[in-house]
Structure formats: structure tokens, C-alpha cells
Symmetry: C2
Subunit: 333 residues, 2 copies
């Protein structure tokens, strides 16, 4: 019990102060956070992108990451998808009484390492401790803001017929990794792709003067995210199945479990839609990033099939790829 979180760490009193300084401030240390006022003072100029995500993933640690690294990468990526340069993150924790302080420390250390790798600072936070049974171990919210570096910003509303559809790498790794970790499935070589995409996005923006859409295919996977974009832009999409990268161990695991990798969550991949004439430049830019080596052109935007996504299969057929129906796997992120 010595090394377990007690309820009074969320009281706002002396025990809260001890937890904050011994854990959060120690790992996140930076001059903005260290001021410890009610809000962080940020000397940045607009226009801005702002995004929020709560992370409830279970298990807390999984092949390729943890709830801590995921909570940083996920929000860094959402901010990046507006073509913005992420600068600052908040960190709000909901912790269950009795949580191991070693587990908490490891998660916070993972957040700090991920923030450093993503060139962002965690500048303000909040800690709530709820009684045993009121939450499952820990939930983390991160909210990020970044500086818009390109106007007009890429948007799900901006796909145009004739555009090329690119992805920055292989699909389905995160979803299958969580599933196998949770169910103790023997899927060798499957690991989450959780990674920060801000450098990759900056490389694309520098290489290509017109980026219509950037979006990361998280919950619901590639298929659901492309459907959203098709609806928002009022266009159709045609994908070539054989061009969509899927790691062999993921393809194998999916076929074993009856899953479709195009509906599994990704946490280190983005969709990029650009005028066809810039497709090769955008792909080359993505491949300069360690997280974009397997970038691929997977299809094109069409006038036909408005609001829908068509998959041309390996065997030459065509079928509609709908949005995800039902719940594939709760607490994936």
C-alpha cells in the first residue's frame, strides 16, 4: 500500500502538491509549467489549431507504446492534421485510488519522452483521484494547440475530383496490437504504430504548395475516415486494394480473427489528399520521415459515387467500403 495512490492526492491540499511536484513537474519540467498558476501563459501568435482527446486505452502498456505515449502522439497528430505546428499540450489525469505509483510514474515518463520527441511542451495540467471502482486505473486527457502554417488549412471539406489519395504507411497496426495485448493472442511482430506525425506533415507542407486534406485514420480506421471525408467534400473515392499497405503479420492476424485492417485504428498514420500532379512530391516528402517509409498512393477522388468509397479488389471486383457499423473494440485509444 505504501506505493499506491491515496485519495487525498486529489484533494487540492498538501498531498496533491506533493504528487504534482514529485511526479508531473519532475518529468514535464519546463519554464511555463513551473510557474504553476491556474492557467499557462503562452506567448504565441495565431491563427491556431486546437484539438482534444481523452485516452482510456486498456491495457495501459502494449507492444509499441503506452497510454502515456499515445496521449501525446494522438493529440499532436490531430493538431498536425490542420497543417499546424503543435506547440503546447495540457495533461489532465483521472486516477483511481490504489493505482500503483510506479505505473503512474512510468506513464508520465512516457508522456515526457513522447513530448520531447514531438517538440511540444506540456504546460498545464489537472489531477483528479476518484475512489476505487469509479474509473478503471487511469484516463488521460490531452489538449493541444499549434500554429497554423498554411492558409487555407487542409480540411476534410477540400477533397476535389482528380486528387490523389495517399497514406503515410501500413494500416491496422494499432488496433490489432491492442486487441492482441488485451486478449493475450499469440500474434508475433504486431505492434502499435503510435508515433508523432508533425515532422512528416511539415515535410509534406514544405514540398507541396496545395494540400487539400490531412486526416489521421484512428477509430473506425481508413474506411470510416475516408467515408467521412467523401461526405464532407461531396465527392467519391476509388481505392486500389493492392496499393494499400498492410504489414503481413497484421494481414495474417486479421485473417485469423476475421477482421478487416481497413477498419482497425491507426495511431501513427495519416491520409493525405493532394492534386494528382503533386502526388509523387508528397510521397517523397513523407518518405523522408522515419514514420513515412511505407507511404503509398492508394486511390483517387472522383465525381462519381458521391459520398461513398469504392474498393477495387485484388481479384478485379469492386465493392463499397462503408463506415464502421457497431463497435469493433472499445477502449482502443
Amino acid at each position: 500500500m505504501d506505493n499506491c495512490l491515496l485519495l487525498d492526492a486529489g484533494s487540492g491540499g498538501r498531498a496533491s502538491q506533493r504528487l504534482i511536484s514529485s511526479c508531473f513537474v519532475r518529468h514535464f519540467k519546463n519554464p511555463i509549467l513551473d510557474v504553476m498558476d491556474d492557467a499557462a501563459l503562452l506567448d504565441m501568435q495565431g491563427p491556431l489549431a486546437m484539438s482534444t482527446d481523452s485516452y482510456t486505452v486498456t491495457p495501459l502498456f502494449f507492444p509499441g507504446g503506452s497510454i502515456g505515449s499515445l496521449a501525446v502522439h494522438g493529440t499532436v497528430n490531430d493538431v498536425s492534421m490542420l497543417g499546424a505546428r503543435p506547440l503546447y499540450l495540457t495533461c489532465a489525469m483521472i486516477l483511481e485510488e490504489g493505482l500503483s505509483l510506479d505505473v503512474l510514474d512510468k506513464v508520465v515518463a512516457d508522456m515526457a519522452a513522447a513530448a520531447q520527441k514531438s517538440h511540444v511542451r506540456i504546460v498545464t495540467g489537472d489531477t483528479k483521484v476518484v475512489p476505487r471502482g469509479a474509473c478503471d486505473h487511469m484516463f488521460i486527457n490531452t489538449t493541444g494547440i499549434g500554429q497554423i502554417v498554411r492558409t487555407p488549412a487542409p480540411s476534410g471539406h477540400s477533397a476535389r475530383p482528380g486528387d490523389a489519395i495517399l497514406v503515410s504507411g501500413a494500416m491496422g497496426d494499432h488496433g490489432l496490437a491492442i486487441m492482441s495485448a488485451r486478449e493475450n493472442l499469440p500474434l508475433n511482430g504486431v505492434a502499435s504504430d503510435s508515433a508523432p506525425l508533425n515532422d512528416l506533415v511539415q515535410a509534406v507542407l514544405e514540398a507541396v504548395p496545395e494540400v487539400h486534406v490531412l486526416r489521421d485514420p484512428t477509430r473506425g480506421g481508413l474506411a470510416t475516415t475516408l467515408n467521412e471525408i467523401a461526405q464532407q467534400s461531396g465527392v467519391g473515392m476509388v481505392l486500389e486494394e493492392e496499393s494499400i499497405p498492410v504489414h503481413p503479420e497484421v494481414a495474417g492476424g486479421c485473417s485469423f480473427l476475421g477482421l478487416d485492417p481497413l477498419y482497425l485504428a491507426n495511431e501513427g498514420k495519416c491520409i493525405c489528399i493532394v492534386p494528382a500532379r503533386y502526388a509523387d512530391r508528397a510521397l517523397a516528402a513523407m518518405r523522408t520521415s522515419e514514420f513515412g517509409r511505407e507511404a503509398s498512393r492508394i486511390g483517387e477522388v472522383t465525381e462519381d459515387h458521391e459520398g461513398r468509397v469504392v474498393l477495387r479488389t485484388r481479384i478485379g471486383g469492386e465493392r463499397y467500403l462503408g463506415m464502421l457499423e457497431g463497435a469493433l473494440l472499445p477502449r482502443i485509444c
Copy 2:
């Protein structure tokens, strides 16, 4: 079961889309949110204040408010305490499978009403649904940003000997209201003070050229918050007990329960520390706000008693007011 939240509403698929449009977008409707990209695009200029809070209060509805109104007011207030004008909020929900959709709708409506009253827009969000038992009904995170309107910004580090210590109203209402709602105590007339303080803060900033400290005494109450400021500023404080406003029903309830209102949470009050010559102007400005009618000068900042807070009691004695030790009441906010 028809009117209960199902797990697939957090899948990222079609059911998520339905929940988002039928509940969140309907209540929060504004041109920035309606774009529905991965992040919100905000056309604002810096410097900024940014603050985050997760709300886990139980019960979800209590005299004077709900988790929804509290989640807006609390973050609006934290941003305001840097002397900033709050502009935008995020809303991230963690919802338990089986939650009544009517309850969710009512909470979201409360958030929308509170946002309107606070002149802020809710511009982006996130929804996670966790299986039954993984969280207790619902948790909300809001993160706010606002425009700094005064440099240097008020800070807990800026209290100076000779300054006057003011509070915007009576102490302890929120803490006692939650306690009585949770335990079904018959405390008539006790209600949370949950309210947005941004207009009150703007009035003070307009009236007074030098505001050293603004802070809202939430968890840990007035006593704990003043101790934090005394430590951050390296000063002492002397308070006059008879000047600290406490509603009679709160004083009565506290004396009945053996509680000290100076350690109970407030959610619609601020501490304001200004040079003594501006004290009356600051009080007059606070009293122009409907939430500052009972503003009072409660003490002064001293060179003596560095890092500590002294209370001069009604009967003429003096005692140190320490920080809150232990956990008074979990899930107060």
C-alpha cells in the same frame, strides 16, 4: 434500454457520428465546431492563457448546477485568473455504457447554456464510451484558451507586502452543496456558487491598473489557496476572520458537520490581491457583477510569517491556517 448509451457510440463509426450530431453539435452549434475536422481552426492572436480541468463530480446534478455547467464555469474561471478573456473551450467526454441519453442531453444542454452565459464557444470535442463499470456515469474534460489582456498577467508569484487581499464573495457554498446532495443532508438554502467570473475579472482589470494576483479557491478552499500564493510569492498573510463572508446556512451546516468553510471548495469566487490603494476600486468593480455583490476585503499581505497564513479570529486570537491535509471530500468537482 432504448434510451441508453451503447458501446458503439464510441467506436468512431456511424453510431459515433449519430451521437455527435444529435447531441453535441445540436447543442453547441457554432461555425467553428461545425467544420468537424480533427482540430478547430481559431483565428485569434496571442499571447494566450490555457487551462485544463477534468470534472468527476458526483452527483451529476446538485443544487446550483450540474457537472455540465461546472465544467464550463470551472475552466472559464481558471483562464480568467490569468487576467485573460476566455474565448474557446474544448469538450471531451468519457461516458459509461448504459448512461441515460436523457441525462447526457441535459448535461450537454447545461454546458451550452453556461458557455453562452460565459461568452465562450465550444469548438472541438471528443467522445469515448467505456464498458459498464469502467467509469462512474460520466467524466468531462474542458480545456480553455483566452486572450491575455494585461501584461504582466496576474500571478500567484506577485503578491507584495502591503497588498490588500479581497474575495469576490462568500466561502464554502460549493463544497457544502455537494456534500449535502451526496449524503442527502437536510441543509436548506445551501447551493453551489458555480458561476463564470470572466465579466467580474474584466471589470476589475478595467478599474485597477495593477492587479497582482487572481486565483479561484476551488479544491482545498480559501485557506489552501492562500497558502499556495504565500509560498509562491514568499510573503505572509494576515486575515480578519470577521471580514471573510460565509453565508449563515453554510456556517450553520459546517458547524453541524464539524467542517471549516475556509477549506471547502468554491466554484464561483476569486481571490484578488492588489496594492492597498486600489482595494476600494477593485471591490467596487467586483460588486458591479452579479457574482461579486458580497465582495469583501479580508486581510493583507505581510513581510512577516513568510509562506504562511495567519487568521485573526473573532475573539481576538491568532492562529495559523495551514493547507488542507488529507482528503475532505473526493469528487467535489
